[in-house]
Amino acid sequence: MALIKLENVTKIYSSADVPVAALKGIDLEIERSAFVSFIGPSGSGKTTLLNLMGVLDKPTEGTLVVNDVDIRSLDRAEAATFRANTIGFVFQNFNLIPVLTVYENVEYPLLMVKRVPAKERSSRILDLLERVGMTDHKDKLPNQISGGQKQRVAVARALVTNPRLVLADEPTANLDHATAFKVIAIMHEMQKELGTTFIFSTHDPKIVGEAEILYTLEDGVLVSRDTPERIEVPL
């Protein structure tokens, strides 16, 4: 059973009363524990698609099922709970809470959203910080660490709730190549170790090769599905 299933998904935005179709009839299935990347030029619909799969938005038409739940049936509070239990996010601008330390940023979803007991919380956070190599920086504030370190913290925060799915929108856009590869490597490692499904969007041609499955979007339409061996598979 696929983790994510999209059937004829369309998303239309009404900008200044002019409807703009960001996604047009997307049909797609993503298996559990996959490491998937979406590429495409700006405005191709990558972020819109990730927002839909992340239950941050709802499709205008079509069916979207994530982890066996039809997301159109969820209200705001239910969607929040669903995200808290099922999905982790990694953002292009890291989006760490500036007033919280590295440790507290990773702790936030466990403490404020899922209310995990202190002992378990501490063990999970320290384990993840160790895995992403941030233990020595756990007491620093986000403005005291580098961009690459921030993104590693963001990956740890996304994974700390043991989500089925981690969505990363342009996670390496603000990083240099070496750091970008390190972050992708960490994500890959976590995918292998924890069985988490990773989906990320990117512009970076060097990073796209790291994905196991690569989807290409153009003008809101899915135009290709590539394997790591770069063999184009017909959709």
């Binding site: 239990n85 996010f89 953002f91 500036p98 936030y108």
Partner: protein, 410 residues
């Protein structure tokens, strides 16, 4: 809960200068209320104390209808015989009453044999009057050796301006002429015993004489009392004692009336104005807090839209986002109030070391402000409530943001 407060406080310190300026403004409002409240309450207490202790007494009892025609000083509305005895008995049995003074009040003509003027007289038993209005002797120029006999039979205490107007000196003989309740005019010679200062400054024409002299002058066969001034053990119990006396002792059939000092003195209006001013200062504080918190929280929400989106994306429920921003407004109000209360109480404490002395009429008023703890509690409650109330709209706005829109906000 604790974590939300910690995050709220950290967010406040994230914009140190802005938080400092806004907190200073709120703290200034709190200081204003506490210091103004302390001074105003001290002024009120001092003035009321002076009025009640030197002239009015805390309560006054008259024959029904007397206060309505008080300007004429009518001598036909008096208490005597059984009525007087019953009233005195009631007052003696009431444990809240410290003392009472029997007075005959009337208007008379005073003459130095060449010039004549009018005078309002209170004829009293000096020992009773001293116990009821212990501050009265303080108004006698030159002081008094024995306060219980500040007035001797055959003596008259005359206000300063009449002394000057008639060219009188202490020890001079004058003639007092008055009309009694039957219309009969009589005069007696008296000696100026001392000069008494009027509370309200020049213009006062209130003098004092011994009640036995008044009985002679007015040809009273029996004691006919116009006014009974009552002094309470605890002034704070005024309303309760007034109600109790009115309920238990003064029925319509008794034909007597009871008034508090407030109902008899125009200074009660000044007290009401002071209360109004305190209310206005509180209102200004509420406005300051409301505008400041509303402003800072609105700015805070709009500056952190992307952050709100991140919180929502991580699964933070709208209610928790609302609570987080409310906590921020509350924390701002709390920190400001604590600072304001400390500085306000400190300022008042400093003032008690160097009391403010000023003259009101002929009264020397010394302001010794107490810490108005009720005012401190009230102002803390007001600021806390208004802080949460003012933060409600921006916090609600934050909680209702769509995560996808908030995350996309630049």
């Amino acid at each position: 809960m604790n974590n939300v407060i910690v995050i709220a406080i950290r967010n406040l310190f994230r914009y140190k200068r802005r938080t400092f300026l806004t907190s200073s403004l709120i703290a200034f409002g709190v200081i204003l209320v506490i210091v103004f409240g302390g001074l105003a309450i001290a002024f009120k207490t001092q003035m009321i104390g002076t009025l009640t202790n030197t002239a009015l007494g805390d309560l006054q009892i008259h024959k029904k209808g007397y206060v309505e025609s008080i300007d004429n000083l009518p001598l036909n509305l008096t208490m005597s015989g059984t009525t007087l005895a019953e009233v005195e008995s009631s007052l003696q049995q009431n444990s809240s009453v410290a003392a009472y003074s029997l007075r005959v009040k009337f208007g008379a003509m005073i003459s130095n044999y060449t010039q004549t003027s009018n005078i309002r007289l209170s004829a009293v038993h000096p020992e009773l009057e001293n116990r009821t209005c212990p501050g009265l002797v303080g108004r006698i120029k030159g002081g008094v050796s024995d306060p219980d006999s500040f007035l001797k039979p055959g003596e008259l205490l005359v206000p300063d301006n009449l002394m000057k107007g008639l060219g009188l000196n202490v020890g001079d003989e004058i003639v007092l002429v008055a009309t009694n309740k039957d219309g009969s005019v009589n005069g007696i010679p008296l000696r100026i015993g001392a000069v008494i200062e009027s509370i309200l400054g020049p213009g006062g024409k209130d003098g004092y004489m011994h009640i036995e002299d008044a009985k002679t002058l007015l040809r009273m066969d029996n004691t006919e009392i116009v006014e009974i001034a009552v002094h309470l053990k605890d002034f704070g119990q005024l309303s309760a004692v007034f109600s109790e006396l009115k309920r238990t002792m003064f029925s319509d059939e008794a034909g007597i009336e009871l008034h508090t000092w407030e109902q008899l003195s125009p200074f009660a209006s000044i007290v009401r104005i002071v209360d109004l001013l305190i209310f206005m200062v509180r209102f200004i504080l509420i406005s300051i807090v409301l505008v400041s918190i509303l402003n800072i929280m609105t700015m805070s929400v709009y500056e952190r839209i992307s952050e709100i989106g991140t919180l929502a994306a991580m699964g933070t429920r709208p209610a928790r986002v609302l609570f987080m921003f409310l906590a921020e407004g509350f924390a701002m109000g709390l920190l400001s109030t604590v600072a304001g209360v400390i500085i306000g109480i400190g300022s008042l404490s400093l003032m008690t070391l160097t009391p403010i002395v000023f003259t009101f009429g002929m009264m020397q008023v010394t302001l010794m402000p107490d810490i108005p703890f009720q005012e401190v509690l009230l102002v803390t409650g007001i600021v806390m409530f208004v802080s949460v109330f003012a933060g409600l709209h921006p916090a609600y706005k934050a909680s209702q943001m769509e995560p996808v829109d908030a995350l996309g906000h630049v």
